[in-house]
C-alpha cells in the first residue's frame, strides 16, 4: 500500500512536471509528422503510408523515451532532487520503475500519434492491433531502459543526449526502419541483429504490413530479454555509482 502510493506519486509528479509540459506535447506531435513528411517528399514514387508506419512509430518511441529519461533522471540527479527519492523508504527497483513508467507511457502515446494521422490518410484495415500494441509496448520498455542505462552513465543532461545519439542514429539506419535489412551491406547486418529495435520494428511490420524477417515469438523473447537485462544492468550501475 505504502509502496504503491509512493509509486503513483512519483509517476504523477513526473507526468505533471515533465511529460505534460507544452514543449513535450508538441514534440510528441511534431516529431512523427516530420518523419512522415520527410519520407513523402524524398520518395520518387507514391509512398504507402502504411509501409512507413512501423518505422515512424518505432522512431517516435525511441526518441521520445530516451530524450525524456535524460531529463527526468539526469536533471534530477544534477539538482539533487533525485537524492530525496533515494532517501525515501521505497525499494530502489520500485523507485526506478516509477521513474521509467512515465517514459514508457509517453513513448506509447507518441507511437500512436502517427497512427491517428494515418487513420485519416490511408486504409488501416487488416492491422493486427493486438501485436501492434504488444510491439509498441515492448519497444517503449526496451527504449526506456536503454535511456535509463544512458542516464545512469551520464552526469549532465547534454552528456546524456549526446550519448543517446550514439545509440539512436545507428539504430535508424541499421534496424530496418525504412530500408529492408536484406538491402543492407552484408558486413553491417550482424550489427542489426544485436540492436533491440530491429526486433521491435519486425513485430510492427508483422502486425501492420504482414511482413517481417523473424518469427514473432523470437522478437518477443529478444525484446523481453533486452528489457530485463538493461534494467538489471542499470540497477547495478545505480547501486555502484549513486549509493556509493
Amino acid at each position: 500500500m505504502r509502496t504503491s502510493l509512493a509509486f503513483w506519486s512519483i509517476l504523477r509528479k513526473d507526468m505533471k512536471n515533465y511529460y505534460l509540459k507544452p514543449p513535450n506535447i508538441s514534440w510528441g506531435i511534431i516529431f512523427p509528422i516530420s518523419w512522415t513528411l520527410m519520407f513523402f517528399m524524398r520518395s520518387a514514387t507514391p509512398v504507402d503510408l502504411r509501409d512507413i508506419l512501423p518505422g515512424v512509430m518505432a522512431l517516435s518511441v525511441l526518441f521520445g523515451t530516451t530524450s525524456m529519461l535524460a531529463v527526468t533522471i539526469t536533471f534530477e540527479r544534477r539538482s539533487r532532487s533525485f537524492e530525496r527519492l533515494l532517501l525515501a523508504p521505497i525499494s530502489l527497483n520500485m523507485l526506478m520503475l516509477a521513474k521509467t513508467t512515465g517514459a514508457i507511457v509517453f513513448g506509447i502515446v507518441n507511437a500512436f500519434i502517427p497512427v491517428i494521422f494515418a487513420f485519416f490518410l490511408t486504409d488501416l484495415s487488416g492491422i493486427n492491433w493486438f501485436f501492434t500494441i504488444i510491439g509498441v509496448f515492448l519497444i517503449a520498455v526496451t527504449s526506456t531502459f536503454l535511456g535509463l542505462f544512458i542516464a545512469v552513465s551520464a552526469n549532465e543532461v547534454f552528456e546524456a543526449q549526446t550519448f543517446s545519439n550514439f545509440f539512436r542514429f545507428p539504430m535508424m539506419f541499421l534496424c530496418g526502419l525504412f530500408m529492408p535489412m536484406e538491402k543492407l551491406p552484408v558486413f553491417v547486418r550482424p550489427f542489426s541483429y544485436i540492436l533491440p529495435l530491429t526486433y521491435g520494428v519486425d513485430i510492427l511490420k508483422f502486425s501492420i504490413t504482414n511482413t517481417g524477417n523473424f518469427k514473432i515469438w523470437i522478437s518477443l523473447i529478444v525484446l523481453l530479454g533486452y528489457s530485463v537485462s538493461l534494467f538489471l544492468v542499470s540497477m547495478y550501475n545505480i547501486r555502484k555509482k549513486w549509493i556509493y
Binding site: L5, R80, L87
Partner: protein, 321 residues
C-alpha cells in the same frame, strides 16, 4: 538509552579513507553535534547513516535496526535535511511537502493537513502556493527542514542547517530545532558553525580527517579546556595604576590584561571574588562589573583539533559564497 550506535565505521574511496573506524552513540532525545572542518568526513558519515552511501566496514544500529541491511525500514523513521535543498524548483512549497509525505505512504487527507500545519509552523503559509524556485535561501532551508519532518521522524539528520542563510533565518531555524527536540525528536546535526553547536547541542563529537577525536557534553568540554581561572573586573580607574598593589596583595594571580577601565587576572587556583572586591574598595576604585571568563567552544575546538579558527572561518565564508 542510545538510539544510534556506530561501531568501527569506515568508508574508503579507492585508496582514500574518508572515514576511519569511527565509533559513537547518540542518546534518544538529545541533540548531538558532529563538528569538524570541511572534508573531515561529516557528510560521508551522515550519508552512511541515512543510506546514501555504503560503509566499507563497520556496523550501524538505528532504533534497534541494522542500519545497513534494513536501511529501508530505518528510512521510515528518520528524516533527512541535506546541506543543500533537494526539493523541486517547479513545484510549490505546498506541493513539495505533499509529495514528500506521499513517499512515506501518508494518506491524502493526512498529508495535506500535515503540509498546511508545517507551512504555518515554519511561517511559510503565505508563500505555500509559490514555486519553490522563487523562495529566498532562508525560506528554502526552512521548507527543506519541513519536508524532512513531514512524517514525524524519531530521528532528524540535519547537515549544516544554518550555512549560507541570513542571520534572522538562522535564528528561526535554531529555534525550530530546539522546539523539535523539546517534542522528543532526536537530532543529529553536522556543522562547522561552532556557535550553532554551542547553542544547540547537548553533546558534541569532533571529527578531524575522518577520525572522531573527542565526544563529550558541551559543559564537560568547557571544563576540560579550562586550564586556568580567569576573572575580569571593570572599574572606574586606570587599571595600570593598581598593578603593583594587586600583585603585592595577591601573589598567586597573574595579570593577563590591563587597560584604562579593566583588569583581567588569572590563576591556577580558584579565584575568590570578595577579597578582590575589598582590595578595590581599599584602593578607592568602584567595580561596576566582575565576571568569570570561561573558554569558548571555539577555543575548545582549536585545542582539541589543532585547527585554527581563522581557517574554519575562511571555510565558513567559502561555503556561504
Amino acid at each position: 538509552m542510545y538510539i544510534i550506535n556506530v561501531k568501527d565505521l569506515s568508508k574508503s574511496f579507492g585508496d582514500f579513507k574518508a572515514v576511519k573506524e569511527i565509533s559513537f552513540s547518540v542518546k534518544k532525545g538529545e541533540i548531538f553535534g558532529f563538528l569538524g572542518p570541511n572534508g573531515a568526513g561529516k557528510t560521508t558519515t551522515i550519508n552512511m547513516l541515512t543510506g546514501l552511501a555504503l560503509p566499507t566496514s563497520g556496523a550501524i544500529t538505528i532504533a534497534g535496526l541494522d542500519g545497513i541491511k534494513n536501511i529501508k525500514k530505518v528510512q521510515q523513521i528518520i528524516g533527512i535535511v541535506p546541506d543543500e535543498s533537494n526539493l523541486y524548483d517547479e513545484m510549490s512549497g505546498y506541493d513539495n511537502l505533499v509529495f514528500c509525505a506521499s513517499l512515506y505512504g501518508m494518506e491524502k487527507a493526512r498529508r495535506e493537513k500535515r503540509a498546511l500545519e508545517l507551512l504555518k509552523q515554519f511561517s511559510l503559509d503565505d508563500t505555500g502556493n509559490r514555486p519553490f524556485k522563487t523562495y529566498s535561501k532562508g525560506m528554502k532551508r526552512k521548507l527543506t527542514i519541513a519536508a524532512g519532518i513531514i512524517h514525524d521522524p524519531e530521528i532528524l539528520f540535519l547537515d549544516e542547517p544554518t550555512t549560507g542563510i541570513d542571520v534572522e533565518s538562522a535564528r528561526q531555524i535554531r529555534k525550530l530545532i530546539k522546539e523539535l527536540n523539546a517534542k522528543g525528536t532526536t537530532i543529529f546535526l553536522t556543522t562547522h558553525y561552532i556557535e550553532d553547536a554551542e547553542r544547540l547541542c547537548h553533546r558534541i563529537g569532533f571529527i578531524v580527517s575522518g577520525k572522531v577525536v573527542k565526544i563529550s557534553s558541551v559543559y564537560d568540554l568547557m571544563n576540560e579546556a579550562q586550564q586556568e581561572n580567569i576573572m575580569e573586573f571593570t572599574i572606574d580607574q586606570n587599571g595600570e595604576d593598581l598593578e603593583s598593589a594587586l600583585l603585592h596583595q595577591f601573589p598567586h594571580v597573574a595579570i593577563k590584561q590591563l587597560s584604562p577601565y579593566s583588569i583581567k587576572i588569572s590563576s591556577v587556583e580558584k579565584i575568590e571574588l570578595m577579597p578582590f572586591m575589598r582590595f578595590f574598595e581599599e584602593q578607592g576604585a568602584i567595580v561596576s562589573e566582575a565576571k568569570i571568563l570561561r573558554p569558548s567552544l571555539e577555543e575548545v575546538f582549536v585545542k582539541i583539533t589543532g585547527i585554527e579558527i581563522n581557517r574554519l572561518k575562511e571555510e565558513k565564508e567559502g561555503k556561504k559564497r
